[in-house]
């Protein structure tokens, strides 16, 4: 429990920092705009003739891949740039508390983004009779997936100490874990390395793990995957943030 000291103060400080500057507002506005655009234009929301949110959820991994590293890139790099990392390390608090406080603050902003899409859910209920349990489930797994994407960004931010570098590296890592389930990538892997290997690659893909939830199926495997993935990057984040003490 002592390791978690500093969690609530860090969480509040980081959440305040997002909303003290235009950062969170710009993120939310552009994220919602992009999500709307993809759902209606690329996803042809109204042309499917079905009252569900499949054309909406299908874009989540791709948009998260770009937007969430942008949200997380400042978490540690900003501390380093302004020298406040030294201030934090001089406080009697544990690194895990800092890491989780920062991650949860970014996750809360991402959750706010999802919350603001609820009118879309209301719309499909107005237009027809969707399976609301399935939609709630997809929202839940999408939120877990957002945590996984954010954990990449936060950990890399602690590693690089530069916001731009952190963003670029995080997007590349996120792309690898997203595109691994993309049919184009999978068929290439399959032809080069065989079906068995392609299956393994697909299993690590966010798209593959999120597919079940999009159909309204609760796969514990997917929940465990996203939580495990986040935990792994939280661990790496702790490791990389502690490195600072070594000089």
């Amino acid at each position: 429990m002592r390791q978690m000291s500093g969690f609530s103060s860090t969480y509040r400080r980081e959440l305040g920092a997002y909303f003290a500057t235009p950062m969170a507002y710009v993120f939310l506005a552009v994220f919602l705009l992009a999500l709307g655009l993809f759902t209606w234009e690329a996803g042809r929301f109204f042309d499917t003739g079905v009252a569900d949110l499949q054309p909406f959820f299908v874009w989540h991994p791709w948009l998260y891949m770009i937007f969430l590293p942008a949200l997380a890139m400042r978490l540690w790099a900003d501390e380093k740039a302004s020298g406040t990392d030294e201030l934090l390390l001089s406080l009697p608090i544990g690194i895990p508390g800092l890491v989780l406080g920062k991650l949860m603050a970014a996750w809360t902003v991402a959750a706010a983004g999802l919350l603001l899409t609820l009118p879309m859910w209301a719309s499909v209920n107005f237009l027809g009779s969707p399976d609301n349990t399935a939609i709630a489930l997809a929202y839940f797994v999408s939120l877990l997936m957002a945590g996984a994407y954010l954990s990449i960004g936060a950990a890399v931010s602690a590693l690089t100490g530069s916001q731009v570098t952190s963003f670029v590296i995080s997007v590349v890592i996120a792309f690898v874990f997203t595109a691994a389930g993309w049919p184009v990538v999978l068929s290439t892997v399959q032809s080069l390395l065989g079906t068995g290997f392609a299956d393994i690659v697909a299993r690590f893909s966010f798209i593959t793990q999120f597919e079940g939830a999009q159909r309204g199926v609760l796969e514990l495997r997917a929940v465990a995957y996203f939580l495990g993935f986040t935990a792994t990057f939280v661990f790496l984040n702790c490791l990389w943030a502690s490195r600072q003490r070594l000089g």
Partner: protein
């Protein structure tokens, strides 16, 4: 109150701090002097638990910064070089963040914040964002953060650096007010303020302590009896020895 024992630190092949040891008692303000890159900030970072030493230890109010880091850090107030602060916060918000992070008892948090604001004389700017404050006020907000929990040991890295004479006087007055009840280490480049502010001066160069005396006795080591000349003579000597 503070005991520094044979601290060592290397960055790659560069030996930044080589066996630095000294002790500071309550009521003493110790001036930590030395040229740029002498190892002052590295030593202060190790004492504050920001950097892990390669070997050695620092006991803050009897608590080891190595084996009992958090307890030691709870007894220590640290102002890093340049007084880094969260610019998007107001001074009270920043102090409340520190009070929560330091897990001060809920009942005493407001009192601690009010007292630090009063002691650092920053009440008049408490509604402004830290990013909008002058350098002098920012330094005082940093000092307010360091004294928030009323620690017995204070480590202040260049608290007056870059301030105008009036701002320097205000910071010096604040340190003088706190001096009787605390052990304070201050690093500074401004040697003229050392006799007025410090009871003792430790001179460090190339990671080693080369003098530890009262500012007056240290000044007498030079031909013209000034601390500047003593500083130049002693640090030049080390340079010659290393040639």
């Amino acid at each position: 109150m503070l005991e520094v024992k044979a601290l060592e630190k290397s960055y790659g092949s560069r030996h930044a701090v080589r066996g630095v040891s000294f002790a500071v008692e309550k009521g003493t303000v110790l001036g930590f002097l030395g040229p740029n890159g002498a190892g002052k900030s590295t030593t202060m970072r190790m004492i504050s638990g920001v950097l892990e030493p390669d070997s050695g230890d620092a006991l803050v109010d009897g608590k080891s910064i190595i084996s009992d880091r958090r307890a030691a850090q709870a007894s220590l107030g640290y102002l890093p070089e340049g007084a880094p602060l969260y610019e998007d916060m107001t001074p009270p918000e920043f102090l409340r963040f520190l009070a929560e992070a330091r897990a001060l008892p809920l009942k005493s948090r407001r009192d601690a914040v009010d007292r630090a604001i009063a002691d650092a004389r920053i009440l008049s700017v408490s509604h402004q964002r830290i990013g909008d404050l002058s350098k002098g006020y920012r330094r005082r907000v940093g000092l307010a953060g360091a004294i928030l929990h009323d620690p017995p040991v204070l480590v202040l890295d260049e608290p007056t650096d870059g301030l105008d004479p009036n701002q320097k006087r205000a910071v010096r007055a604040l340190i003088a007010r706190m001096a009787p009840t605390k052990a304070i280490i201050i690093s500074t480049h401004t040697l003229t303020e050392v006799p007025a502010m410090c009871h003792r001066a430790v001179l460090i160069d190339r990671g080693r302590i080369i003098a530890d005396d009262t500012p007056a006795r240290l000044a007498r080591r030079s031909e013209d009896g000034t601390l500047e000349s003593a500083f130049s003579r002693l640090t030049d000597q080390v340079e010659d020895e290393n040639l």
